[in-house]
Assembly symmetry: C2
């Protein structure tokens, strides 16, 4: 991009920035957008909002960062609700849109899909940004040369992706919101005895003596919290606790926090000023000593976004905080600094965590938190996976309710092939596979033949367990190289216009393409980029560089493996602490000498990561294992090698 064409200007409204857009140039990013992937031709106002039902820019995690398919990225360093016009604004006096001048641009434009024409995407234009109130703004420009490298640089500049605990990549189940400690223990027992894998059990608001707002102390539903946690831990369950930051007068640190909170209450609770070190220390210290020390492995940080746009429960934008921030700035940063606060407590204990959070913002890559939403459209949930990868975010398309078993299976498939595989059953006493109807479920009436549905779900969850080694290594690459483990096709195929607008498929790790299906679909179109691909389930070989219509039997989410992939699949176990989970079946897809890389470490906060390379030479009957890097532990071993050529 010609840097000299970037201009800035103070106005009475704030600060304006203009950046050039070339013919055929596409723009992506701006955070967790649910409604659109391709941002060229759109206007977005980046307001923090828990209910982003339109395509106006509202988001749980709006991020003032965008990336261009021409191989650069722009971070606008602001905690204001900026407005960005991604092309299509033309001044009457200024240069008018013009078609491509040079041959390279003309060639790019010539490839534009027909459906792109209405946005004038074949013309020159500009990106126009307005930052309210600011008298100037810093832009950070990330070079490529490829789009993927831009995102890598952005993520590495942020600190690199998080290194999650291995258990975080297993299966998560959140228990009924009003469950008592004996219910939770019984649930744990049921999962183990029915042989349904599970690494994390989540507790919803009922664990607290007061919510909303939060007391952060155990309710009488949990008379023996420490022993309950300890029993769960002994069965290799990690415990994740729901909370939000709004601090009820009965919270032990309410009085200490009072001077370090905003002027407005939320649900009768204080809003901690997480931009100040005092609030972070008070809040984090309590969490460390009262909860983390007793075995709580992580938290679900709810409602740290801003739901004023539906019902007015959050603090207003005109709030004032001791740190000097107003409510708008605090909304932009509240989720991020809340994550930092809890993260610092885990760091002091030298523990890794993986948690859930409802809001985030710029430069969030290193934070071991995965976003979620109270919205629930399955298509939007899939689009969330596609979009999160542009901006250093992780997104969990959790399963909550399901309208029927088909819907349950389809949603479960998506979450299984996502950063965090979770069923959030806060609203039902029994697992959804026993009964999807809420009332019936809570009355203990199970659906006829539920055992079959449970078996299907169990098999899906086992599929998740098989991918843990692959996923863990993808996260290590996120951590070390900044490559998002889940990302849009365009990020790997920026020069393929057919990939530019795809919002219902994504890449998982280096070699796998996922094309989720929603309830009611009996077939779906899948775009396979250039190269050769293999159907994960049937092994069928397929030529890429084209759109194919595939059948979608209910029990199979379309997953394709790139030819040239050596795919290590674990033996499914009930949890990741089982040493059996390091036993691998390795599948080679396609001819030639193939390699893949795996990682292992001791699970500490800053581990020596040991790298393991699996190599299968073309002419050998099986592959071999090569260790490299540090002298740390390696638990993997291969029990089976398979090769698929056709």
């Amino acid at each position: 991009m010609p840097l000299e064409q970037i201009t800035g200007q103070v106005s009475k409204r704030g600060y304006e920035v203009r950046l050039p857009l070339a013919p055929g140039e596409m723009i992506y990013g701006l955070g967790l957008q649910f409604q659109s992937v391709l941002q060229r031709g759109r206007k977005k106002t980046l307001r923090v909002n828990a209910d982003p039902v339109g395509d106006a820019g509202d988001s749980h995690a709006p991020v003032p960062f965008y990336v261009s398919n021409l191989g650069y990225g722009i971070l606008i360093d602001t905690a204001r609700y900026l407005t960005i016009y991604c092309g299509d604004k033309v001044t009457k006096d200024g240069p008018h849109p013009a078609p491509a001048g040079d041959a390279q641009t003309a060639a790019r434009v010539a490839q534009l899909p027909k459906s792109f024409e209405r946005y004038n995407m074949d013309q020159t234009s500009e990106v126009l940004i307005e930052v309210p109130e600011a008298q100037g703004v810093d832009l950070y420009i990330f070079g490529g040369p490829t789009m993927r490298e831009v995102v890598q640089r952005y993520n590495l500049f942020s600190g690199g992706g998080p290194l999650p605990p291995r258990w975080g990549l297993g299966f998560w189940y959140r228990a009924y919101g009003q469950a008592r400690q004996e219910d939770v223990l019984a649930l744990a027992e049921e999962l183990r005895s029915n042989q349904i894998p599970c690494d994390v059990l989540g507790l919803e608001p009922g664990w607290q003596s007061h919510s909303y707002s939060c007391s952060f102390t155990w309710s009488d539903k949990f008379p023996d919290p420490d022993s309950t946690i300890s029993k769960l831990n002994s069965k290799s369950f990690h415990v994740n606790l729901w909370e939000h930051a709004f601090t009820h007068p009965t919270a032990p640190f309410y009085k200490t926090l009072f001077p370090y909170s905003g002027d407005y209450e939320v649900w009768g609770g204080l809003v901690p000023d997480f931009l100040g070190k005092e609030a972070r220390a008070i809040f984090g210290d309590y969490h460390e000593k009262a909860l983390i020390a007793n075995g709580v492995s992580g938290f679900k940080l709810d409602e740290c976004d801003n739901s004023d746009f539906t019902h007015s429960w959050s603090f207003p934008e005109l709030s004032r905080f001791p740190s000097g921030a107003d409510g708008e700035q605090m909304h932009c940063l509240f989720g991020l600094r809340y994550q930092d606060t809890i993260q610092a407590a885990y760091k002091r204990r030298n523990l890794r965590t993986l948690g859930l959070v409802r809001s985030s913002h710029a430069l969030a890559a290193p934070s071991p938190y995965v976003l979620y939403s109270d919205l629930y459209d399955h298509h939007e949930f899939i689009r969330g996976v596609v979009n999160a990868g542009f901006c250093g975010l992780l997104w969990c398309p959790e399963v909550r309710d399901a309208k029927d078993p088909e819907d349950l299976i389809r949603r479960l498939q998506t979450t299984i092939f996502s950063p965090l595989a979770m069923v959030n059953a806060w609203y039902i006493r029994n697992p959804p596979w026993k009964q999807v109807d809420r009332e019936q479920n809570n009355a203990g009436h199970f659906a006829e033949g539920w055992e079959h549905l449970e078996a299907v779900c169990k098999q899906l969850i086992e599929t998740r367990m098989r991918f843990v080694p692959y996923l863990y290594s993808s996260f290590v690459r996120y951590h070390q190289e900044g490559i998002p483990p889940f990302r849009a096709l365009v990020m790997d195929y920026p020069d393929d216009p057919q990939a530019w607008a795809i919002d219902d498929q994504y890449l998982m790790g280096e070699d796998i393409l996922v094309a989720p299906v929603t309830a009611g679909q009996h077939a779906r179109d899948v775009y396979l980029p250039r190269g050769t691909w293999f159907d994960f389930w049937t092994g069928q070989k397929m030529d890429g560089g084209r759109r194919v219509n595939v059948d979608v039997p209910l029990e199979q989410i379309p997953v394709f493996i790139k030819s040239g992939t050596l795919l290590p699949l674990a033996v499914p176990t009930l949890h990741t602490a089982d040493v059996e989970s390091f036993q691998l079946n390795v599948r080679a897809y396609g001819p030639g000498t193939l390699e893949c890389t795996l990682h292992d470490d001791d699970g500490t906060l800053k581990p020596d990561i040991t790298t393991l390379t699996l190599i299968w030479a073309e002419d050998e009957s099986q592959g071999s294992v090569k260790r490299s890097g540090s002298k740390g532990q390696i638990r993997y071993s291969v029990q089976k090698w398979e090769r698929r050529l056709t």
Copy 2:
């Protein structure tokens, strides 16, 4: 309201206003809101937006005016996107919400429906308003003592409601967007020969030689525009032309307008600076001489809102205009001043008009324009009728496409009982009652048995014609007394908590309650306020003060007449110019001496309005007609008197 409790404060972000809210106090208004009627407990940011899919305050016509059930209204005089928090914001240091202190308030709170509890509506609270950038703001406070009087005062302060031409209250039909002049003449012929009433034919973009943006000159589809209009006029059709204000280079006044337009183009056209008298004069003068002088009766002023929030086609908020306004201010006022511009041209010709417009704002009551939307949810369209009446707006729940005949009939029923009864068939060559399927319709394939559907629609349109005298008099009251002809139940029953949240029923004129039905409903709940009511269709008498479940046969929209009403119904005619349309059948509902008032005038811009009172004494076998007021014309006569007692 205790005025001394209103406070204001400058901040670095703009200006803040705080107003008290009492326990059980309800707030309404804020313009054409589609998602909610009762605003207490909600936050709204009043952005101008053509696609308000969420409940965040975005609206075609956001109006910074609200009215309280305690009998006062507040106008915030700003053309900024203000944010208003309608209760539920609490400062940690300030007074906390408290229940009612006095007996009157306690009694009000005691009546609150159970469903209101979650919003803390039984507590004291405050309305918090933030106006960006402003260093102060004028508040206009309208007294009651009743809620209806507040709205009357607001409307009269604005100049009173518009006096529409009588033909504007007939039936409107917008022709296929690409229709040629012969198609339009054939359509007119078909409507007359099939005896389907119609007063106004609308032409969509195809009439112009260029759109979008607009050339404002006839296309080659209309080689003889003047004779076409004249032929239509001679058959008592009024012609309404679609346009928007964005002025294409081929428009005859493009060059003259250039210096009086904003810095950004929209669809390659100029944005007239309607805040300056030059742009208004250039634009209005052309319309007067080139179109109005040749018989065009009105316009549909499209896209004067702001659709940046979906696809970025409008001018940005940071635009600059010669008048000094920026784009945000211009978006707030563009629709209003556009209406003024056209209205001024009609005034110069001493003609009344009634038109359509996509955006409006504060103090709009006198403007003879009815809002419409590209959104199409039937529930929201009904809610639009309910909400528009709080703020001096009129709303048209137009019929466009229908998914099946049931949907067509249900939607047509709603538009028949609305300020402007219109089918907008821009997308189909033939009337929707011949074929609801778009492709089939355009291929000329009519549905089997379409004649029956046409007959049902015809009967509904005739129902509209029967209500024209009643509606005209309701508009005269809007004009003279400020009483909205369509309004929420709460406006007439502010002391009835059951009426407070009703968003799917409304009052039409003084005496009629309308409860529209959407496709798929086979019965519906209707809340009948205190008193006695009669079913319009069956004459069945029903006790009010309760919720009743009524059957909804497809051909009947639930309409209820208050006992004590003398209802004048016209003989249905093909258009309002037919003198037969002044022949009345008068129905008396309930016992006693009943009266109603009708109005007639010569149709000029500032007419002498003659008032006619119909009186039916309890003991007479029929009523009588009493003339009062000016010596102007009276064309009404009664051909039949009927009384219904049980």
